[in-house]
Amino acid sequence: MELTKKKSKYSLKESLTAYIFLLPALMLAFTFIILPIFSAFVNGFTDYYLLKPDEKIFIGIDNFIRMASDTLLLRTFKNTLYFVLLVVPLQLGMALILALIVNKKIKFNGYYRMAYFAPAVLSLVVISILWSVLLNPSSGLANQILMSVGIPRQKFLTSTTQAMPTIVVISAWSGCGYQMLIFLAGLKNIENSLYEAAEIDGANSWKKFLHITIPSLRPVTMFLIITTTIQAFKLIVQPMVMTGGGPDYSTMTILQYIYEYGFRHRNVGYVSAITLVFTLFLVIVSILIKKVLKEE
């Protein structure tokens, strides 16, 4: 009885077609998304060293204990967190300001929009190389400009204190154009009648911004905060190209640690364990942000 009921719910031909349609995607997703996570689980509890695969032994949670006392790993976590906490507000703040500017009825609107968006067409590698040359402490353009307005030479990427803030500014500079456009789309969606009603009630521009614009941009902002934060935690290309993680490990990020010690030094077991913790951490962060922003 049960069986006939089920049979009538699905047509065999349709189910078969559906799985033929799904098969390539499911096979690829299984091999290249699920299998890697599974392999990280298996290797994360071993001392797997790629050049000596036969000597791999199960070592329980040793790798996870080792993480807690790995000062370089903790340092890269601190560096990454520092980057995230600075770049997310800076980049989104800049994006919002730019969106508000080009949303106004200004002359040459097309030029301004294009100019603010310009860095977005450059790849991260191009951006990193270009700024490395511009920021060269002795011959770079940036110091020339600073000196012409009376500011002394800066060391930028060659200083342990300036390197990470420099990468923050460059990343915000290159990424905010996209987010400007997303904010702009949000601004265009706000009903004009809301502003008109507020004007009748005698609200000034500041009040209108605070009580209409900001609340209306809420969903867009939430989306941008989550995507930018997760993206920022995965910082690697800029330090890899510009500083190699230096000077003195001051710009080395978690992902770069994973690359250096997992891929280049072949410590697969230990770094698989780090990958597990890092992945879990990112998943928790995105869920937490969603929760916090929704509750407010």
């Binding site: 799904l22 390539p24 990280a40 730019l98 301004y112 100019a115 891929f263 697969v268 998943v283």
Partner: protein, 279 residues
């Protein structure tokens, strides 16, 4: 009245200075690629750092760059990788998205839930285990090993599903009456009328592949297979490359195709970015 005008002028000055902050690096990059190094550093403190002086303009940096590095070969590699990823990606992901939107089959909810759950996996974070899997199936240093991991994209499957959900049921009914099978219906009717979503996702996929850096560094160490972003970094860190003008010429060459794409597909790119929230 007078005060209002001053504020207006100040506002325009401020937003113009701000716009210069965003364009000056690229401007300098392009102008410097048409100068010899001596002139680049002679002009660096002046406005001519950003404006070409006709008498100094030269394509020497490009000629010298191309005689030292075969960057066109790398661009050709990247063009091939990006095109293959777009073609196979669109096929695989749209078929899956269509099945999830339009068919009834056992475990449909389970498959959909799996796709949504996988969307939360931060791809670059799991790059080492991905390398290990590709290493195990002996595809490191092969084009297949480089491309296959990023053909299926759960975000794109989801975007396709959302798009196909809005198709009217009558469409498939009519096709069924005409005796069209599921496959024919898909490529004769669904595909042609869904061009906009294909173009949007295709362009975003192309750009992501063209700009890819970390994965090819790991998966392709063979220099014949090297894509363009990895080659750029190699040129930049090559101790034999001592000329700023050569580096700027390389950066300009690699950026040019992207600028052309933006000119033709600006709307689709913006829409694609807004949908998927990358970058």
């Amino acid at each position: 009245m007078h005060k209002k005008n001053i504020i207006k002028i100040l506002f325009y000055i401020a937003i113009t200075l701000l716009s210069l902050f965003f364009v000056f690096p690229m401007l300098w990059m392009i102008v410097s690629s048409f100068k010899i190094d001596e002139h680049i550093y002679r002009d660096i403190g002046t406005v001519f750092a950003f404006l070409p002086r006709m008498e100094d303009m030269t394509i020497k940096p490009y000629i010298e760059l191309l005689s030292m590095y075969n960057i066109f070969k790398n661009m050709g590699n990247s063009l091939m990788y990006a095109s293959l990823t777009v073609v196979f990606g669109l096929m695989v992901n749209s078929l899956a998205g269509y099945a999830l939107a339009k068919f009834n089959f056992p475990f449909k909810d389970g498959v959909l839930l799996l796709i949504i759950a996988l969307m939360i996996v931060p791809v670059e974070a799991t790059i080492l285990p991905l390398y290990m899997v590709v290493f195990r199936i002996k595809l490191i240093n092969t084009i297949a090993g480089y491309l296959l991991p990023f053909v299926a994209n759960v975000m794109n499957i989801f975007l396709f599903r959302q798009y196909f959900l809005s198709f009217p049921e009558e469409l498939s009914e009519a096709a069924r009456i005409d005796g069209l099978g599921h496959f024919k219906l898909f490529y004769k009717i669904v595909f042609p009328i869904s061009k906009p979503i294909y173009v949007t996702i295709g362009i975003i996929t192309f750009l992501a592949s063209w700009n890819d850096f970390l994965w090819p560094v790991m998966a392709l160490s063979n220099s014949d297979l090297m894509p363009v972003q990895v080659a750029l970094n190699a040129i930049f860190s090559d101790t034999y490359n001592i000329f700023t003008s050569h580096t700027m010429a390389a950066l300009t060459l690699v950026t040019l195709p992207v600028v052309v794409l933006y000119m033709f597909f600006q709307r689709q790119i913006v829409e694609g970015v807004a949908r998927s929230g990358i970058k």
